[in-house]
């Protein structure tokens, strides 16, 4: 019997199930009968990538087109990488097993900055030239999308183009353009990219020249052609009831992170937390109706056999028809023994009625995100949550027999003082004492309150986009202040994020295209899986910056001027700079902003349109 190389390799890696494909629900087509082959790559492990809702949606949306075949690919784990490199085998796509370099498109979803080195590494493993400038007519078109492309600049040397905003229609359009140009003989890499740059929502970085001022800040973005836009406006799906939603899921054999039905209830967020990028970039809110959602949930259950449905959105409690939806779902989920989970609950929606509905869910703990320790600082960041709200919500949970509460905070927020930091500890203490005062709380069981603190990272498209990230020394000092405050407390566990990782994320979040050089150098040093503690090597990164003549503090720790050109000014995601400046001023004045449902704050995103949003109609 013959054993092929792939087989030999699969025998030697820890989790071969990550690479075999062949799952129930995968889509197979005849490669000779399709006109466009698209490989959708997730630059992290299979387990994480398979859990991503965006990938599930776009995989289905592309494959709905008869003449387009979309396949999947993930970052191989280091043991697999070693095998591929030893044998000189190029990375392949899951469905066909064909090398990625044979595809027409290789698309990357950029979900977090810390995956950038994996993108470069995956290109390398696919044996595709790393830099856009070095690619020839035979190479695939490398396209990026996802949340990070609201500032795609740091990775732009590696990409031929970016799809900005929601991709359901956009990706199909770009494939159509490709198919047409190939069909009528007008295709060359160059002419295709020029045409692509004229399509709404596509950004071709090589067609924009960037000039810099002497102080290192950006002077201008200059389009290479006159007929391409000066700014690229993000795409949105206007009506989520009618836009494509997958009714099937590829069912992984091995266990993944979110191995369940994910029902996307709405996009956008009516809140305006001033640190939150998603809350700004996903605007405006667009809801689905409960009828459509219930139908989609039923179909997904019948197609998957998953026994859990997770209602997903940025803040599920803000869905205007949550009650109707959960009631309709419970009419059949109970009998089918399907449980509902509602992540991202806000404290003010945490009621006994809701608790009843989700009480079937495994007895996990309860999670809330006050984000800051004092009311003053919560007003600064516009997190409309009071201590009273929080304690009331915790008491509801205690009434229902829960004894563990997890609280998320950030440190290093603008205007933060040590009193705010100690406020975190005080809040945790109040939760513990609320437990002991609650007559219904389980006797003889001690509560556990976990305080999990991450470091604030100023992100593009937020009112804090001009703020400096605090230095590592300062972040560490604050971690110590909090550690001292909670270490004496009973029943409180303190977890904090490594400031080093946050620092690197801070550099890339607001980075410009000069950082591509650093990514290339990092790749040459073998850096990858930066979001994995066991691989993250801060010192190596600092050496990379040094070697490239890049000062990371210029990007992360500098106070940006309100009138400088920002790297992400090339993108228009709906909200205006004026709005963000207004919000920044209100932050310093400790004034909160009402939610979009209470009152429109004129962020500008309404110009994009959208059904079942709470925006006023745009006057154009």
């Amino acid at each position: 019997m013959n054993f092929d190389l792939k087989d030999k390799i699969l025998r030697s890696v820890v989790k071969p199930g990550r690479y075999i494909g062949g799952e129930y629900g995968e889509i197979l087509k005849d490669k000779n009968a399709v006109k466009c082959r698209f490989a959708f790559a997730f630059p992290d492990t299979y387990e994480i990538g398979m859990s991503n809702l965006g990938v599930r949606i776009l995989y289905g949306a592309l494959n709905r087109e008869e003449d387009i075949w979309c396949e999947r690919c993930y970052s191989p784990w280091v043991d697999m990488e070693e095998q591929l490199r030893t044998h000189g085998l190029p990375m392949w796509a899951h469905e066909s097993g064909d090398p990625l370099k044979e595809f027409d498109f290789l698309g990357f979803t950029l979900q977090y900055e810390m995956c950038y080195t994996n993108v470069v590494n995956l290109l390398d493993l696919a044996q595709i030239p790393l830099l856009s400038a070095d690619r020839s007519e035979e190479d695939p078109i490398i396209i990026g999308g996802g949340p990070c492309t609201y500032n795609p600049e740091p990775v732009c040397d590696f990409f031929d183009l970016f799809s900005i905003g929601e991709g359901e229609d956009a990706l199909v359009e770009i494939c159509r353009l490709y198919i047409n140009m190939k069909g009528n003989g007008t295709y060359t890499r160059k002419s295709f990219l020029h045409e692509a740059a004229k399509l709404p929502g596509f950004y071709v970085p090589s067609l924009y020249t960037v000039t810099y001022k002497e102080d290192g800040t950006i002077e201008a973005y200059i389009p290479v052609y006159d007929d391409i836009p000066k700014r690229i406006t993000k795409r949105i799906m206007k009506d989520l009831d009618t836009s494509y939603y997958p009714e099937k899921v590829v069912m992984p054999y091995i266990e993944t992170v979110h191995d369940r039905i994910m029902l996307e209830v709405y996009r956008g967020c009516i809140r305006g937390c001033r640190f939150c990028q998603a809350g700004m970039t996903y605007r405006p809110v667009r809801e689905k109706t409960p009828e459509v959602l219930n139908e989609q949930a039923k179909k997904l259950y019948e197609a998957t056999g998953y026994d859990e449905i997770s209602l997903s959105s940025l803040s599920i409690s803000d869905y205007s028809c949550l009650d109707t939806l959960t009631n309709e779902l419970l009419e059949w989920t109970d009998e089918a023994k399907v449980s509902l989970s509602l992540p991202s609950l806000r404290v003010n929606s945490f009621t006994p009625e809701l608790m009843e509905k989700i009480s079937g869910v495994r007895a996990s703990g309860i999670t809330f995100a006050p984000e800051a320790g004092t009311q003053r600082l919560r007003d600064v960041i516009n997190k409309n949550l009071t201590e009273e709200d929080l304690l009331r919500a915790c008491n509801v949970a205690f009434d229902y027999g829960k004894s563990s509460v997890k609280l998320y905070f950030m440190n290093g927020l603008p205007t933060e003082t040590d009193d705010d930091i100690r406020g975190i500890a005080e809040l945790a203490r109040s939760v513990v004492s609320a437990y002991y005062k609650n007559p219904k709380a389980i006797k003889n069981r001690a509560p556990t309150v976990t305080v999990s603190v991450s470091c604030f990272i100023p992100k593009p498209w937020t009112p804090f986009q001009w703020e400096p990230q605090q230095t590592m020394e300062e972040l560490r000092r604050k971690q110590t202040v909090l550690f001292e405050a909670v270490s004496k407390m009973k029943h409180v566990t303190y977890k904090w994020h490594d400031a080093k990782t946050s620092h690197l994320e801070g550099v890339f979040a607001r980075g410009d295209r000069r950082l591509s050089k650093a990514l290339l150098a990092a790749h040459r040093r073998g850096l990858k899986f930066d979001s994995w503690d066991e691989f993250f090597d801060y010192d190596a990164w600092m050496a990379v910056f040094e070697e490239c003549g890049i000062d990371p503090a210029f990007y992360a720790n500098r106070t940006y001027s309100e009138d400088e050109v920002l790297a992400w000014d090339i993108i228009d995601c709906g909200v205006t700079k004026e709005f963000l400046k207004r919000e920044k001023r209100k932050a310093y004045a400790e004034i909160t902003t009402p939610s979009c449902r209470e009152q429109c704050s004129g962020c500008g995103a309404n110009k994009l349109g959208g059904e079942r949003s709470c925006c006023p109609k745009a006057t154009s």
Partner: protein
């Protein structure tokens, strides 16, 4: 939701004989359980749930082959709560699975899964083995390192080998496979290949049949 057949007075035992081949040999038993679990749920088969705090579709497997091995003789017992014909169950279950998990037969069992005492394997080797060398090796005690609850230990497995036949690059081996007395075919191959001086030879194990203690075909 699909309409159900008549409620049975008592849950009915159903046995599913299936094959797992190709890529599926890389899937662990735990992952196979999860896969079948969701397959039953999406198939609309009225599978009986275990009772208790966290009810789950109840599935009982005969000793399964380990990761890396194929099998065309896997057995799974379930119970159904509502009337559904065996052919309908087979059809629906196959529809909810990929071809590499093939439903071979669905029937009402007349035996217990614990009656399985031996398994027949076809083992395909990278190159043909010398039959006389194999013959000679089988005359000797065969000592291998065996994973046990109390760590690894050396063990003579020759007593657990029922019969072996070599045919070019295929070995047909009947090994003990009872719950109390089980010889992992991997260990058998390790032992055999070491004895004949071919420890690096690659092979693929496929279980082809199960037998009871009297050597009768199990079904």
């Amino acid at each position: 939701m699909l309409p159900k057949g008549n409620l049975l007075r008592e849950p009915r035992a159903i046995r599913v004989k299936f094959a797992k081949t190709g890529k599926l040999r890389y899937i662990s038993h735990l992952d196979l359980c999860r896969t079948l679990n969701s397959a039953f749920l999406r198939s609309g088969i009225p599978i009986w749930y275990s009772q208790g705090f966290n009810p789950r579709p109840k599935m009982v497997f005969a000793l399964t082959v380990s990761v890396g091995a194929e099998s065309v003789a896997e057995f799974l017992d379930i119970r159904i709560t509502h009337e559904m014909s065996e052919s309908e169950i087979a059809k629906r279950l196959q529809y909810a699975l990929t071809p590499e998990l093939e439903i071979l037969e669905v029937y009402r069992p007349a035996s217990k899964l614990q009656e399985v005492a031996q398994s027949e394997y076809h083992i395909f080797t990278e190159r043909p083995l010398d039959p006389s060398a194999v013959e000679a090796a089988l005359q000797q005690p065969m000592v291998v390192m065996v994973h046990g609850k109390k760590g690894d230990k050396e063990k003579d497995i020759s007593g657990q080998i029922v019969s072996v036949l070599v045919d070019s690059d295929r070995i047909c081996a009947r090994l003990l496979a009872g719950q109390g007395d089980f010889l992992n075919p991997e260990n058998f191959m390790k032992g055999l290949l070491t004895s004949i001086g071919e420890p690096e030879c690659l092979y693929l194990i496929r279980r082809v049949a199960c037998y009871d203690a009297d050597g009768r075909l199990f079904r």
